[in-house]
């Protein structure tokens, strides 16, 4: 079957896969152990879990390693793996007030009850290339750990568990209300079990955003701040830490399953009021994702607010635009499907085009090129 170049078939597929392996190993590098990889590529793995929609650090690490670090591919593998697992239970809603907080900041107030806790972050470091990492010595890690632990005060460790929230202060004052959008669709749906329908209930929006691609959310969140929207929220609170997960088993007993690390963001915005004389109040845009992924948390919070105020003039306020186009596995798959052969569809379009050009040539000589060019824009999609 050698008459069309792309028809290589099964041999081509296995040869291509082999070539990937060859390029990976031809310099005989030291293979990386998942146990080495997992703590050292933590943030990449967190992203894979978030976008892969499955909290499974080991599986995510394996996926990321398997695909040489491509987050899209790794998330995709995790989603596909997830689809093979039957959904047996729904957990109780996690309560982030129970969080063992590792990091907690608010940009709304200088001081907050419980205090600002910077926690593990690179936010205030200089982004300088660190050549010393080229030759890391185990000795230096040991001495670092020894020095770090030596400075800890074991008496103070007990105190850090959990805190109330910044928005509690605003709620107590009444300037932020619980029923901000009383007419909102609050049904709980499961986007992994059914296709979304528009307008989408808030539960589905939040689920979609939590699984969405970080870069896509950032692009839209940023656009909303930069002038294609009216949202420049304030980070009411951003916290990162471990929360317990529980579920009720078939016998009705509540079971503790373990802890997962999440990033939670509450973006404070203002609800526009339509009625004259009505007092404006504050709203919360909510972001929650697996692991530590603060960009995603913040952008999700902004977009949650934006999606509650539909406005098709701004991409970020447009449900269909935001939710469909930030879905990473779908976007990634479809953009890459352009690599598949399209000769049948192209042939069908080409015939149309030639007809038009031919007709133009016979009726008004001299114009076929322009007509054909205009017709290209009408070429059907596939």
């Amino acid at each position: 079957m050698g008459y069309v170049a792309v028809k290589g078939g099964q041999d081509a597929i296995s040869n291509a896969a082999e070539l990937v392996e060859y390029y990976r190993w031809r310099e005989r590098p030291q293979p990386v152990d998942v146990a080495q990889f997992r703590p050292q590529f933590r943030l990449g793995i967190d992203k894979v879990m978030g976008e892969g929609s499955l909290y499974a650090p080991e599986h995510a690490a394996l996926a990321l390693q398997q695909v040489e670090g491509d987050v899209f591919e790794a998330a995709f593998i995790l989603r596909a793996y997830r689809a093979t697992l039957q959904r047996r239970y729904y957990s109780d809603t996690i309560n982030t007030r129970e969080m063992f907080v590792q990091r907690r900041i608010s940009s709304a107030f200088r001081e907050i009850p419980g205090g600002q806790i910077l926690g593990p972050t690179r936010d205030y470091t200089q982004r300088l290339l660190n050549p010393s990492l080229v030759q890391p010595g185990l000795g230096s890690i040991e001495s670092f750990l020894g020095g770090f632990k030596g400075r800890l005060n074991p008496d103070k460790l007990q105190g850090v568990t959990t805190f109330g929230k910044v928005i509690d202060l605003l709620m107590a004052e009444g300037i932020m209300r619980r029923d901000m959008y009383p007419n909102e669709d609050r049904r709980v749906v499961d986007v992994t079990r059914e296709a979304i329908k528009f307008p989408v209930p808030r539960s589905a929006r939040l689920q979609m955003l939590a699984r969405a691609e970080t870069g896509g959310l950032m692009c839209l969140g940023y656009s909303s701040m930069r002038g294609y929207g009216d949202k420049h929220g304030t980070v009411g609170e951003l916290r990162v830490g471990d929360v317990p997960v529980r579920l009720v088993d078939p016998r009705g007993r509540r079971r503790y399953l373990g802890k997962i690390k999440v990033t939670e963001t509450e973006m404070i915005g203002r609800v526009p009021v339509k009625k004259r004389g009505a007092v404006p109040f504050l709203s919360v845009g909510y972001g929650l994702c697996f692991g530590q992924n603060e960009t995603k948390g913040i952008c999700m919070g902004m977009l949650d607010s934006a999606l509650r105020i539909p406005n098709n003039q701004n991409p970020a306020n447009n449900q269909e635009f935001v939710l469909y186009h930030t879905e990473c596995v779908e976007a990634y798959g479809f953009t890459n499907h352009l690599k598949l052969p399209h000769y049948v569809t192209f042939q069908a379009a080409l015939q149309n085009l030639r007809d038009v050009a031919h007709r133009a040539e016979t009726t008004s000589p001299g114009q076929p090129a322009e007509l054909a060019a205009a017709a290209v824009t009408l070429k059907s999609r596939s």
């Binding site: 039957q86 990634y332 798959g333 598949l340």
Partner: protein, 294 residues
């Protein structure tokens, strides 16, 4: 001690878990009951990229059983890399029999072609669909297109066909020509060439359309009327391959691929690879041919 089974579980028969397969089958039944209507479904992620045939795979995997014989076609060819990859995946997950022979298959999954050979009552053709919403080109928003379908409000698509006609003298719909199914819903036949569209009407087999990324299933049941959209005085036409013969078999009356050899000389070859093989072997399988109106 509790055994660590984290990486030990093997995959379920046909990959997808049973309750999801059941859900997909129920949605298929709904689609059969309302020909041309797009039924939303869960569309779980597959290990194949979105846009590469996941919708087709969902249908194939939820329908396939021990006795099925599978054929996978991509742009007419069994040997195309993506066809190989999908066929191999289904075979690995089910242990089913696979074939290139159109007549021998019970379940056929295809991308952008309907086989030239007439399909029978014993066969199901699963078509992969990139964009199930035929109105998307004239209406951007899903919420509105669903309403338009519900109200059978198809003015916009008729206008778009009319405009294309007055501007170019033809409808300018290469592949994926819009069809009306059973006199009610306007639907996409998936991006098959116009050549294949007449074969959808009053066929013996069941046509299922799966759009994985967009999470929709629609269907043309056997013996259902399918009309390509056309005006009283402007008719639907299929691609014409006049005075063209296949360079490999010498035959005509089939959808042709246009190919160029190393010297840049244009040739045509029958697109349907199994049909071509049978032509080369000297037997022309039964075909339904559509004659363009004068």
């Amino acid at each position: 001690m509790v055994e660590n089974t984290k990486f030990k579980a093997s995959y379920n028969y046909a990959f997808i878990d049973e309750s999801t397969k059941k859900e997909v089958r129920r949605k298929i039944l709904k689609a059969v009951c309302i020909p041309g209507y797009q039924v939303p479904y869960s569309s779980p992620e597959m290990p194949i990229s979105r846009g590469w045939g996941t919708g087709g795979l969902h249908l194939t995997l939820s329908l396939i059983g021990q006795g099925d014989v599978l054929k996978v076609i991509d742009q007419g060819s069994d040997a195309s890399v993506n066809a190989c990859s999908l066929r191999e995946f289904v075979r690995k997950m089910t242990g089913c029999q696979v074939t290139f022979d159109t007549a021998a298959a019970t379940l056929l999954q295809t991308r952008h072609r309907v086989p030239e050979e007439i399909l029978t009552t014993k066969q199901i053709l699963v078509l992969q669909v990139p964009q199930p919403e035929v109105l998307r080109g004239v209406e951007r928003y899903e919420a509105r297109t669903r309403q338009m379908h519900a109200e059978a409000d198809y003015a916009k698509i008729w206008v778009s066909l009319y405009e294309a006609y007055v501007r170019y003298g033809t409808m300018m719909r290469g592949s994926g020509y819009p069809i009306r199914v059973n006199g009610r819903y306007i639907a996409t036949p998936s991006p098959i060439p116009r050549w294949d569209v007449p074969n959808l009407s009053m066929a013996h087999c069941l046509y299922l359309f799966g759009a994985g990324r967009e999470k929709r299933i629609h269907c043309i049941p056997p013996y259902t009327r399918v009309e390509p959209l056309a005006f009283e005085d402007v008719h639907f036409k299929v691609e014409e391959f006049e005075q063209i013969r296949c360079a490999a078999s010498g035959e005509d009356r089939a959808f042709m691929d246009e190919i160029y050899d190393a010297e840049g000389v244009r040739k045509f070859v029958v697109n349907d690879s199994n049909f071509l093989d049978k032509l080369k072997a000297g037997s022309r399988p039964p075909q339904r041919l559509f004659m363009n109106p004068e």
